[in-house]
Symmetry: C2
Subunit: 207 residues, 2 copies
C-alpha cells in the first residue's frame, strides 16, 4: 500500500495541516543536515531524530531519501526565485537592481537557516538524474533574472561582459562566499554584498 504522501503536497489543505507541518519540518532539518554533513553522510535516522521522529517515520512523508533531497532543493529554489523576483521588481536603475540581487542572493546562501540553496549548489551530484529536470527548470528562471539585470548593466556601460560566461563568473564569485563566510565574523552579509558590487562595477564615484 502507499504509505507515504505525494511529494507535491504544499500544505495548503486544511485537513492535512498537521501532517504537512511535519513534512515541512523534515524538509527543514534535512536541509540543515545535508548542508552540514552532506547528503551521503547524513543517515535518514538522524533526520528523523532531529525532527523528533523514529527512524522509519520519514518514509511516511517521502518515499525515499532521494525524494527528500529533491524536496529540499525544489522548495528552496522556488522560494529563492520568488525572493529574487521581488527584489528586482520596480528598481529604478540597473545598478539598484544589481545591488538588490547581489544582496538577495548572498542572503539566500548565507543567512542562518537558509540551507536549501547551498544544498542545491553543493549536493547537486547526489541528486539522481530522474529528479534533475524539475530543478533545472526553476534554475533557468533564476538565471534569467540575473541575465536581464546584467544586460541592463552592460547597456549603461557598468560592466564589460553580460554574456552567459560573464554571468557564471559573477555567480561563481558570489556562490564561493558560502565557502569562506563566517557568520560570527566581522563581515556582515550586507558588507560583503557592497564589496562584491564594488568589485564588479567599480566605486560609487565612477558610476
Amino acid at each position: 500500500m502507499a504509505r507515504h504522501r505525494d511529494g507535491q503536497d504544499n500544505g495548503t489543505s486544511v485537513s492535512g495541516n498537521e501532517e504537512s507541518n511535519r513534512r515541512a519540518e523534515l524538509v527543514r532539518v534535512a536541509g540543515r543536515l545535508f548542508r552540514e554533513n552532506g547528503y551521503e553522510a547524513t543517515p535518514v535516522r538522524d533526520i528523523a531524530a532531529a525532527a523528533g521522529m523514529r527512524s522509519g517515520s520519514p518514509f511516511y512523508h517521502f518515499k525515499s531519501k532521494q525524494d527528500l533531497l529533491k524536496a529540499v532543493m525544489a522548495e528552496g529554489l522556488n522560494k529563492a526565485l520568488q525572493e529574487l523576483t521581488e527584489a528586482v521588481a520596480g528598481k529604478p536603475s540597473a545598478i539598484e537592481a544589481f545591488r538588490a540581487i547581489v544582496r538577495t542572493h548572498l542572503a539566500i546562501i548565507l543567512e542562518p537557516g537558509a540551507d536549501f540553496v547551498p544544498v542545491l549548489l553543493y549536493e547537486w551530484r547526489s541528486l539522481a538524474c530522474d529528479g534533475r529536470a524539475e530543478i533545472v527548470a526553476i534554475k533557468d528562471r533564476y538565471e534569467a533574472v540575473w541575465q536581464d539585470v546584467l544586460r541592463d548593466l552592460k547597456r549603461e556601460g557598468l560592466i564589460r561582459d553580460d554574456s552567459p560566461i560573464g554571468r557564471l563568473f559573477v555567480f561563481g564569485a558570489l556562490n564561493w562566499v558560502a565557502r569562506w563566510y563566517c557568520p560570527h565574523g566581522s563581515l556582515s552579509i550586507d558588507a560583503i554584498a557592497d564589496r562584491a558590487v564594488e568589485f564588479f562595477i567599480g566605486p560609487p564615484n565612477r558610476r
Copy 2:
C-alpha cells in the same frame, strides 16, 4: 602488526619502487572516483577494483580511507603549488603573471585526469579535522602566490581590489568553472582563461 606503509612514502627509494607505484595508482584512481562520486559515495572496494586489487588491499598502503583522502589532497595541492610557482616565475609584467596563474589554475582544476585539487575544493568537508592543518599550510602558500600577483596588478592600476576578499572573488569565479565546464564543449580551457582575464582586468586595448 603494522601492515600498511607510512603515508609519507613518496616513491623515491629504489627498493620500494613497485610498492610505491601501487600506492600512486591508488591515489590516482581514488582522486578520480572521489571527484566523480564524492568521498562518502565511493566505497574503498571500488577504489581497489579500479586499481586492480581486492577489497582489503588498499589498507596495506593506507591505514584508513581518510588517509587516502588526505594523500589525494596533499599530493595534488603540492603539485599544484609547484606548477603555479613555475608559471609566475620570471614573468615580465603583472599582467603576464596574472594570465599565467589564471591559465595554470584553470588547467589544474579542469584538465582531464587532474582530479586532486577539485577533490580538495569539493570534498573538504569530508576530511576529518585532524588532517586539515597539513593541507591548510600548503593552501596558504598557494594563496600567497595569488596575493602577490594581485598586489602587482593593483599597483599598475589594472584591478581595483587586491584585498583578500578581492582574491576570494577571483578564486570563486575561477573555481566555479569546474561546475559548468564541459570537456567536450566548444570552449577550451585557454579560451576560458582569456575570457576570465578580460573579465577581471578589461580588454587588451584598455591596458
